[in-house]
Symmetry: C2
Amino acid sequence: MTDALTTTSASPVLTRTDELDAALGPSTAAARALRSIPDAVRAGYLDAVADALDAEKASLVAIAGRETHLDDARLTGEVARTTGQLRLLADVVREGSYLEAVLDAAAPDATPPRPDLRRVLVPLGTVVNFSASNFPFAFSVAGGDTAAAWAAGCPVIVKAHSGHRELSRRTAEIVTTALTAAGAPGGMFQLAEGREVGVALVAHPAVRAGSFTGSVAGGRALFDIAAGRPDPIPFYGELGSVNPVVIAPGAARRRLADLATGLAGSFTLGAGQFCTKPGIVFVPAGTDLAEATAAAVGDAAPAELLTPSIANAFRDGWAELGALDGVEVVTAATAGVDGVTPGIVRVAAATFVAEPRLREEIFGPATLLVEYDGDDDLLAALETLEGNLTGTVHADPDDDVERIVEVLRERVGRLLFGGWPTGVAVTWSQQHGGPWPATTSVFTSVGATSLRRFQRPVAYQSAPEHVLPAALRDGNPLGIPRRVDGVLTLPAETARTAGVQR
Amino acid sequence: MTDALTTTSASPVLTRTDELDAALGPSTAAARALRSIPDAVRAGYLDAVADALDAEKASLVAIAGRETHLDDARLTGEVARTTGQLRLLADVVREGSYLEAVLDAAAPDATPPRPDLRRVLVPLGTVVNFSASNFPFAFSVAGGDTAAAWAAGCPVIVKAHSGHRELSRRTAEIVTTALTAAGAPGGMFQLAEGREVGVALVAHPAVRAGSFTGSVAGGRALFDIAAGRPDPIPFYGELGSVNPVVIAPGAARRRLADLATGLAGSFTLGAGQFCTKPGIVFVPAGTDLAEATAAAVGDAAPAELLTPSIANAFRDGWAELGALDGVEVVTAATAGVDGVTPGIVRVAAATFVAEPRLREEIFGPATLLVEYDGDDDLLAALETLEGNLTGTVHADPDDDVERIVEVLRERVGRLLFGGWPTGVAVTWSQQHGGPWPATTSVFTSVGATSLRRFQRPVAYQSAPEHVLPAALRDGNPLGIPRRVDGVLTLPAETARTAGVQR
């Protein structure tokens, strides 16, 4: 990392709170400019950034590897995911449903008479995004939150994560150069560094929303600032999740080896540093999933965690866990200068119910097996769970999991049947979120509908045609899906596929 | 009002905080029961309540008139609006787009492979709604917030407004009887009274969201409680709004008499007790809109406001306004034992910019005319405005209002071209909301999309068919619009109208 980067014209970096007023001028100007730039052009900005990042993939992965200790294959895949999500959100913009255009004709003879009314979603304004430690690309400078805010039409200021500072600066340079070449407004993107600057951004009057991926403590502190402003703003935090997995008796009986291999792979993936890591696994008492999983993990080489503070937190969290009453250590995690090795512990469901500290997330390669004795025991344990990003059920056809699914569904954003929660497909249907503390919101931070976080509705009443945004004009010039007089109406080319039902 | 009502079996009333745990049991049970009740059946509950209220219209209006001093015509119209919005939201449920069903097929050959993923919106759980003083039907016990929460599948506890307690209890009885007759789960609706109970409900762990229509101070206090919980919940407040109206020079020159009549009617409608009352009107300097409006108001008979505390606040607010430097009283409001009469004041735009107290809402029949001298003067004044529910522009074809519209659009939820903001059509396209302090959210509290406040997404990954909710099953058994593999797809009967474009 060279300090000279802070002075490149391509990408100045905000590092002081007294720079914010000056920096937010261009953001506000960009918000204004973006309003009159057609959607298709704005979608092109996202594609341009994706192309630029793909072109620099090798050099970016090299920097990321040095800073995060994640391996090249993972990082290369993450760049592809990042550029893929920029392109998906560009497609979402072009498709146009994200505008939620609704038109109702005037009804002068109704009681009371109704005016012509047309509703559309508009961008909120400047958004501040806090990068995550564990996804240096996909939840970082040009990650999902940034892509979603841009797609919605909002300028973005990214608060870089200190764990990958050089990568953040280099990514910012590439983003800025690509946006400039594409003709985007100058203030559409800026990079900021430092906790104080991040806090000041959330409190700044010109910032209209925030998003965050990280710890419960950090996210809660920022959420409280956003909610405590004289004018509260939405703050979308993706915080803690233990991602419960339930293994039903039939599945445990017939597929234990596969389950052990799958669990071993999932909780140690990326050294356990995924927000979707399966942290708590409910297994029937008397099965030896713990031992089988330990065998599947084998003699893992130590893995260096993302940052020293994350390594310290893992070591402390593990030590605390092992010291709790009733906790049996099946495989002891180790933490040394070379890194950490995975750990597995086991408790009885009754112990789990009685001890809230067992339900806290440990970030890193550790998992807790909870042994249950029958459905009631299991359900009592599941009902103590807070909100989670995911919940997983492994069941065979003879396992009756209806009540289990019901209890889990109330507590999660994504419900898996088989498979493992790590791995989040970026698609139209994805939901990455969940009740507190998984997130602070009723939205997803991944996938097509993540844009909605950065939009608000505006209705135009009796507006002359030339004042209306293109999405609301007569004749549907954008060719987008719209609801007209209560009927959802597809543009001609899409309507041709309307008979296809799955 | 008879105290015996608190003990009717049809509708017990929660009046003590120590009753809440017991009362929330049935709410939680109802939330669970509602999950397995088909959408069409739930929609029928809303229709049943609408029918029951219509059948009791005359007696309800009589009680409301006594308690609120609003006239019969207004109250009768408000009952019709209330039952109309229950029926509209029932239609929204039956139409099914509100579920935002999205299905993506598995792509086992993709890199990385993608699982079958299907997303739907699910109800949040028990909602507490705070009734408004000024809409004893439409924003009260069976009002829009209640209808929206029910439509979304959430049980509701309504905190009654003390200004119309007997009406609230009687409405609750009718609602409870209708829901019971329709076979709805017992805990789907409850009535609560008293500030302490309301506060305790917002803080209660079993409550999953709140909504509120009222003052900035009251709404902010509840918002802070909701945001400050160990597990923050969404709190949708509709708070203050001054509803700016801009009269452009051409319109002022040619249509002054009409504008004066319109303004006089709008700011005195319902004794000025609408959240959409035009509270600040920007007029070109030198026009005599103020005098013409005063003439149009004429010698109004005193109107009794909703409650003594609202009357006191109006009297105090008016006195404070008149005492500010640079404020010219055109027509003095009066406040006596018989009620209040309308008031009109006038200031120069420069005074308006310099004095923040001029931008505060006065609830009741008062309006402030701000005289501007050219576009820059006007824009400077508009830029001091906070968020509003509405903004209105009166312009003739030769008035260039592009910049004015731009500045207003950033600050409002509904933008009117001609007409007056009082009167809110309950339609698919309506937007009743706006930036702080108009609301605390990025949603509407009126119209078809008001349901979204009480929903959150859940994705099902690789789920067996029998586990999926009907909205996500193969073959689209509900016959609802769904997005399938990225393509918005209409059910067959709706698709036939897909060629129609407006």
